[in-house]
């Protein structure tokens, strides 16, 4: 009965979405206040029903109900409960249901919480939100129902792919989806504003927290995903330019641009049309991402389903949403009045440059990701790999890092070159010194790595330059947030450059007791022992590592080769030891006929900075959000008091 109840809840939620759309449209068109008033409660009910449906799916997974096809295909009765739980969205149908649930809950949250927007824009926003949700409901109910029964029921189930059996990954998709869906709200706001023509500072202030929140979730999702790929896949790299990784990077790039342009709109009422455009683009990118991941159209190590019907269904949705929004933009943008002007050398000008560079990177990633599809359509098989992305996007990313150092030092509206140059003297000198030092120490490192390290050092100092001559206690929280986020980028860039310039790698057929050398480390495989876990068995290498004198302190590394019985799969579990100056990374391969074990070793100086920096960026975003929300609250209270 649970599956049927879940399906029923999903149908009712879809019906609510249809009602929400119709009521918003009719209410606004006919100026029926009663209809408009009723849109909010309907949105709240829709959110509750979608959540109920998803909750029931989770319950089916927790109970290992093998009479449900999806559970049988993606779960196993002997699996740890956490992975039964995460199994609910570790598959195509479940993840789509999660998507629409988050979307519906976000709509409910707007209906409950949003007080700044004028009512017409809010109603139009909720209508747009319902329109997006309807497509996904249709997709679930028609093309891929998660509640289909299996008759006769399976005995144990197929199990969840062992590579997905990782606590980090269990919560990775929801994190990204919060980000995608946050952008859908920004999109709905933009559509609402285009319909009513109310685009101004108040609109930007209403949209900003959603963009910030979405951006924080995307940042966390991308950072965590990168670290997951790094330790779980055992290949020692942290970014692959895989289409699925790009699928999360593209919305992030667009959201980053939007985040900065929405600030211009909120603070100076400039960049109106451009901000609307970015809101449309950012959500389009999360739809393109969903499409790429779910359609299986690209060779990816992540894509779930290879099913052309689903692919074409999502493609139609994509065309409908993006095409519709762009058409609306084309029709309505003329009605949006031009905002305030500004000098090119100003904070606004700096943010325009930031937007330009981000858009160009986005374009490159998009071209590189979609080019193989286009080529395939024209009858040529090809794939675009990391060399393309690094070569094309790398230099522009470095230019962006340089621009980031200067931008926040500029004044709004108008500034002059000399004071800016004076403020940049210290960071620029430091950058040049670091470049020279790196070149002297490691002349073989590529120019991008050398420049990257220098710029990272410069940006790290410049990030906190806005504090210059200010009383620390009077600096607002969102300014701290911005500085920390920019500093986080510097930290991350330093990690990337250091990893790619200084990593040492070693692949050996190891005999017991014999020393091998990687970077400053002396590594010995002492033996191999069997170990057993919840639903796997493994052989585990006992590896000791030391550096400096032979009798110095030892590290113990335990790389494993695991065997999961359902589904039958071998996986390698890397063992990583984190030191203050980097990570030692060991992967155990197979044993050969002479009893030697394949052992792959990496010494990666300062690689942890990449994810630490990502964490700082997210933290900065969160602080900024907190600061903005606090200030808005205070202003609202003041306005109320003034009215009394």
């Amino acid at each position: 009965m649970i599956a049927e109840a879940g399906l029923a809840a999903l149908w009712f939620a879809a019906a609510m979405a249809l009602m929400q759309l119709a009521m918003a449209a009719l209410g606004l068109r006919l100026k029926q206040d009663q209809l408009v008033e009723a849109v909010r409660p309907v949105a709240i009910v829709q959110g509750a029903l979608a959540a109920l449906s998803f909750g029931l799916l989770i319950l089916l997974f927790l109970r290992s109900d093998m009479s449900v096809l999806l559970v049988a295909q993606n779960s196993h009765s002997a699996k740890p409960w956490l992975y039964k739980f995460a199994g609910a969205w570790g598959n195509h149908e479940g993840s789509m249901l999660l998507w629409v649930t988050v979307l519906a809950l976000a709509g409910a949250a707007i209906a409950l919480l949003e007080k700044k927007l004028d009512r017409a824009t809010l109603t139009a926003t909720l209508g747009a939100q319902a329109f997006i949700a309807l497509g996904f409901y249709a997709f679930l109910l028609i093309a891929s129902s998660p509640f289909t029964r299996l008759d006769p029921p399976a005995l144990d189930g197929m199990g969840l792919n062992p590579l997905l059996q990782d606590p980090g990954l269990a919560f990775h998709p929801p994190t990204l989806y919060f980000g995608y869906v946050g952008l859908s709200i920004a999109f709905s706001f933009a559509v609402g504003a285009m319909l009513t023509g109310e685009v101004g500072a108040a609109f930007a202030r209403a949209m900003r927290p959603w963009v910030l929140g979405a951006w924080v979730f995307l940042t966390i999702g991308i950072t965590a995903g990168s670290y997951w790929a790094y330790y779980e896949l055992g290949w020692g790299g942290w970014w692959f330019w895989d289409p699925v990784e790009n699928a999360s990077l593209m919305p992030w790039l667009a959201a980053t641009a939007l985040l900065h342009s929405v600030n211009v709109l909120a603070a100076r009422d400039g960049l109106r049309a451009w901000t609307l455009m970015l809101a449309v683009v950012a959500f389009s990118m999360s739809m393109v991402g969903t499409f790429l991941v779910r359609s299986g159209i690209l060779t990816s190590v992540h894509a779930f389903a290879v099913d052309p019907t689903r692919g074409s269904f999502i493609l139609v949705l994509l065309a409908l949403y993006i095409g519709g929004a762009l058409a609306l933009y084309g029709l309505r943008v003329g009605r949006v009045k031009a905002g305030q002007g500004f000098d090119l050398l100003s904070r606004e000008g700096g943010l325009v440059l930031n937007n330009l560079l981000l858009s160009v990177i986005l374009g490159i990633v998009l071209i590189g990701t979609l080019y193989p599809i286009v080529a395939q359509a024209m009858g040529e098989q090809l794939s675009v790999g990391p060399p393309f992305f690094n070569k094309a996007a790398g230099p522009i990313a470095l230019a962006l890092v340089a621009a980031m150092a200067a931008g926040p030092l500029l004044n709004w509206r108008r500034d002059h070159l000399n004071p800016l140059l004076a403020k940049l003297t210290v960071p620029a000198t430091l950058a040049v010194l670091v470049m020279a030092g790196t070149f002297a120490a490691a002349p073989d490192a590529g120019w991008m790595e050398i420049v990257g390290l220098g710029l990272a050092a410069g940006l790290a100092v410049a990030s906190f330059a806005p504090l210059w001559k200010r009383k620390l206690r009077r600096v607002p929280l969102f300014t701290w947030g911005m500085m920390i986020a920019h500093f986080g980028v510097a930290v991350s860039v330093a990690g990337m450059a250091a990893d790619s310039a200084f990593t040492s790698e070693r692949l050996v057929a190891a005999r017991y007791g014999q020393p091998y050398y990687v970077g400053p480390w002396r590594v010995v495989l002492n033996g191999v022992a069997p170990v057993i876990g919840d639903n796997w068995s493994a052989v585990e290498g006992r590896v000791t590592a030391s550096r400096g004198p032979v009798d110095g302190p030892m590290l113990l590394l335990r790389p494993q080769r695991r065997y999961y019985s359902s589904p039958p799969t071998d996986t390698a579990e890397a063992s990583i030891s984190t030191r203050i100056d980097g990570q030692l990374y060991a992967v155990l391969g197979q044993q050969d006929a002479q009893g030697r074990w394949q052992l792959r070793l990496w010494w990666k100086p300062f690689v942890t900075l990449i994810w630490f920096g990502g964490g700082l960026v997210a933290l900065g975003g969160a602080l900024s959000l907190l600061g903005r929300v606090k200030r808005e609250r205070r202003n609202a209270r003041r306005r109320e008091e003034a009215e009394w």
Binding site: L69, A72, Q73, L150, A154, M158, N161, L163, L233, G234, W235, G296, I297, T299, S300, V301, H302, F304, V306, G341, D343, L344, L356, L357, V360, G363, I364, I367, G368, Y371, P372, Q376, Q381, L382, S383, V384, G385, P387, F388, K391, A392, P395, I396, L507, V508, A509, P567, P568, T569, D570, T571, A572, G589, Q590, D592, A593, Q594, R596, Q598, R600
Partner: protein, 144 residues
Amino acid sequence: MKRKHQRLILGLVALVAIGGASGLALSALQDQAAFFYTPGDVATKKPPAGRAVRLGGMVETGSLKRLSDGVTISFVVADKDAKVPVRFTGVAPDLFKEGSGVVAEGKFTSDGGFVADNLLAKHDERYMPPEIADKMPSPDTLVK
């Protein structure tokens, strides 16, 4: 500065940026894009030796061998049209096995073999690279 002039300058800057980026992207695509080959393609249009490409197909059952240095393997990538011998030095990915799909990144050698410096196998055990899916009999699916 007049607003009109400013727009003009901004437009020009944007054009230069986009032009430069397209230039970068195109030149990178030209000499860096790894072209994708199936064994069947190799038989008909001979790929240039020494150029970074991707080779996709199925690992032929019974072809996987380990060489005496302990870290190099050799195997045959096949589709229904042709076969290509491949050599790879390194730890093969977890889902790499005989009878399943693989995409090998590397270079063709002058004798028609392939030296891979990276192997891609997929997370999912039901996986087959889409590029070769239409050239192979469909893989077994589960509960029907």
